[in-house]
Structure formats: C-alpha cells, structure tokens
Symmetry: C2
Subunit: 212 residues, 2 copies
DNA sequence: AGGGGGGTCGGCCGATCGGTTGATGCGCAG
DNA sequence: CTGCGCATCAACCGATCGGCCGACCCCCCT
C-alpha cells in the first residue's frame, strides 16, 4: 500500500432513507479505523446541503430515497462540487447504473457487496478511483458491446401514461397532443423495447425501471 | 420495565441477502447490550437451517432475498418451529404484509424505522408480542376496513402471462385453455384491480407486487 | 445550404381487445 | 341437498389498437 493507514481518515457522508441502514452503516464504518462518518442524511435535499456544509471526501449515496429528490438528482448536484459520490444501492438495473454514472458518480456498489470491498471502494473513491461491483461491471461491459436503444423524453412521457393504463385517446389528452402522435410514439417505443403490445411495453418498462 | 436488562440477552439470527446490511445490523445490534447476534444468513435456505440449529429467540428476516427461497417462504418454515420471525424489510406493500403475516411473522418493521424502535421490536418479538411500523399498521387497518379483493390462483396465472405482454390467444395457448376463458378471467381481474385495460392491469400488478 | 433527429399530425385497414350474456362442471360448506 | 365460489367455454359486437403510409416543422450540426 502506498497510502498510509495512519494518515487522516476518509470523511464520509451517509445518505440513505432507511434509518436502520444508516445506523448499521454508521456502526460498520466505525469499525474501520481509517474511515470517519462526518454526517448522515435521510433525504436527497439533506445530502446536498450537508455535502456543501461538511465537504466530506466521499458521499455514500443510495439511489432510492423515498419521496422527494432521488439519489441520481442528488448526485448530479453534489458531483460538480468536487465531492466524490459513491453509489451504494440494491439494484443493478441498466437504467439506474447509466443514470448514476452520467450524473457523475465515482463508483457504483451493491449492498450485497462484502464489507471489506465497501471499505476499499470508499478509499478508492476518496482518491477519485472508480470501483464497480462485479455484476455492475458486467452490465456496463455488456451495454458497451450492444448499445441498448434509448427512449427519448417524449417517449418516456407516453410510456408513463401507458403504465397508468390509459388508452391512446386519454394519453393524447393528458399530453396535449393528437391521438395520431401517440400512436407514432408508441410504434417507436415498441421497436426500441422489442415488443409489440402495450402490456408488453409496460412489463419491459417496469422490468428495466425506465419509469419512476 | 418488568424485564430485567441484565438478564440473558435476546439471541437474534440475521437474514438478509445484502452483506453490507448484515454487517451493518451486526454492528448496530452489537451496540445493544441485551441483544446478541447468534448468526447470519444470506439466503432463505440458510436461515431455515440456522434457525433450526441455533434456535434463536428472534429471526430478523428480510423479504427480498434475491434468488432462491424468499423471506415469506423461509418465514413459513421457521415460524411453526416456535422461533419468532420479525420481518425487517423495505417495502410496505399490501401483498408483502399480508403474505408475511399469514406465513406466521410475529412483527413487520420497515428499514426506515428508527434503530431504537428496532431494538424494542426485537425484545417484543422475543416475548411473542407483535410490533408493526406505523405505515404497516395503517395499511393493515385500512385493509380491515375495506377488504381488498383477492385474485384467485388462476387469475394470477393469467396476470402473469399478461405481464409478459402476451395477447389473449397466446395466453390461452400457454395455459391450455380457450381464448374465451382468458377473456372471462381478464374481466374479473379488471374488476378486482379497479382497471379496464390490460396495460393498467399490468401496472397495478407490478405496483402491488402481485407477481414474482 | 444541406442533413439529420426529434416531435407533431393525418388517414387507412385488418386484427385484436373489452364487455356482455349465458351455460356447464366441480368441490365444499351449511 | 343446495347453494356458492371457481374455472371453464361459446358467441356476439362495437371500440380500440397496431402497422403502414406520407407529411410538416423546428433545432442543431456539419
């Protein structure tokens, strides 16, 4: 190791909406001598504020934060300030990974990861190095090889209404466009999702977590 | 308190597929003097085996356990042995709550709960008393007042196929029944879910986690 | 100026869906 | 025995969907 273990510890800000998980992480990280928990946040808004106030070395960020700002949005606001964001979440969905990375996350770990990997990843993140959990790395590579088609914002709008079970006419009214336009978008959505029915599109959308 | 705090501590078995959460809970519960972690399990199968071997006072059970046996099934196997099962999970979905309770869970806590509530709930569970997180209790009460319609097994079959985006003809073929029967079931499913389209049914099904 | 991607429309038509009514057989509790 | 719930099937009809054309506009980029 080139990094001295007796040097100043890495200061970490926890962000998770589950109090039990926060408390658990707090206790867990407390057992690592060279890691210090500088603060805790239960919401995205709190995380952004505390990251600015405490300027920790690393923010440990969950993506699902219940109501309000989600982890991706919080990451998008924190990353530009120079504070490293290490995502620690449950899901390894393509959409989550992509959004987190393009929001500026330094690393992406799964909660299923071994604790010592978590410690290592925190130190890596503090130095700006990227760490990805194995399944995440795999998915990233897979995506590189065969790029998934990306839905446009408008297509996601249509998909959102579709997931509420609305018919074409109602979707049209909800989005202030004509029914013909809805059908055009739907056709493209089917193409991109590899599907040919509404129900199938909703299923794939829920599966890939394309919708909130 | 009638319970002496200096008496033998409550022995707890952790079951969660996330190593980080397990380690965190381990550290967290270690800080409670009258709670002792007797073991950890990362899968349902492990939990069942360890519950039989260690006979802890309480099993802290997550419902989502990744692949293999889920938390409900594990609970169903552990509860009859007399070992209390305290569910500690993320979601407060009607379906999850119902299934866990009817599987024999003694309590149902959310990970968003405060740690001291968790400690209290563990002690309560050890004595056979039930603890429910506030949102869970609310949902249980709401369900009591206006009982949600329950889908029959067959209807869940149809719903499962529907969630794959199949058309009526394909659903019929997949389940070895006639298209007419599929439509009859669908009509009842629409009624029960308060919906009138296939896409809507899929959305509600995914929302309430009626499907695996 | 040209080109491309995204969003917006319209029309057409066959296939499918959604709703309804009615009927049969089965198991189970009162 | 007699309901009752559940699963199964049939036939019908209007409404909707899905797929296929082609078209226009706007913005960004080369």
């Amino acid at each position: 190791m080139t990094a001295p273990s007796a040097a100043s510890p890495v200061r970490v800000l926890l962000c998770d909406d589950h109090a039990v998980v926060r408390a658990g992480l707090l206790a867990l990280l407390g057992s690592a001598p060279d890691i210090e928990v500088a603060g805790e946040a239960g919401t995205g808004e709190e995380a952004v504020a505390l990251a600015a106030k405490l300027t920790p070395d690393v923010v440990l960020m969950d993506l699902q934060l219940g109501a309000g700002m989600d982890g991706v949005e919080a990451t998008r606001q924190i990353a530009p300030t120079g504070v490293r964001v290490l995502v620690l979440t449950t899901y390894d969905t393509d959409a989550d990974i992509t959004r987190a990375i393009e929001a500026g996350a330094t690393g992406y770990l799964l909660k299923a990861e071994r604790p010592d990997e978590l410690f290592a990843a925190i130190h890596a993140a503090a130095e700006g190095r990227t760490t990805l959990s194995a399944p995440v790395a795999s998915r990233v590579m897979a995506r590189m090889r065969s790029p998934q088609p990306t839905l446009t914002d408008r297509e996601l709008d249509i998909l959102g209404q579709l997931a509420h079970g609305l018919g074409n006419r109602d979707i049209a009214k909800a989005l202030f466009i004509s029914e013909a336009t809805v059908k055009t978008h739907l056709g493209r959505i089917y193409d991109k999702l590899g599907v040919d029915t509404r129900a199938g599109a909703v299923a794939v959308a829920k599966e890939r977590r394309l919708l909130p």
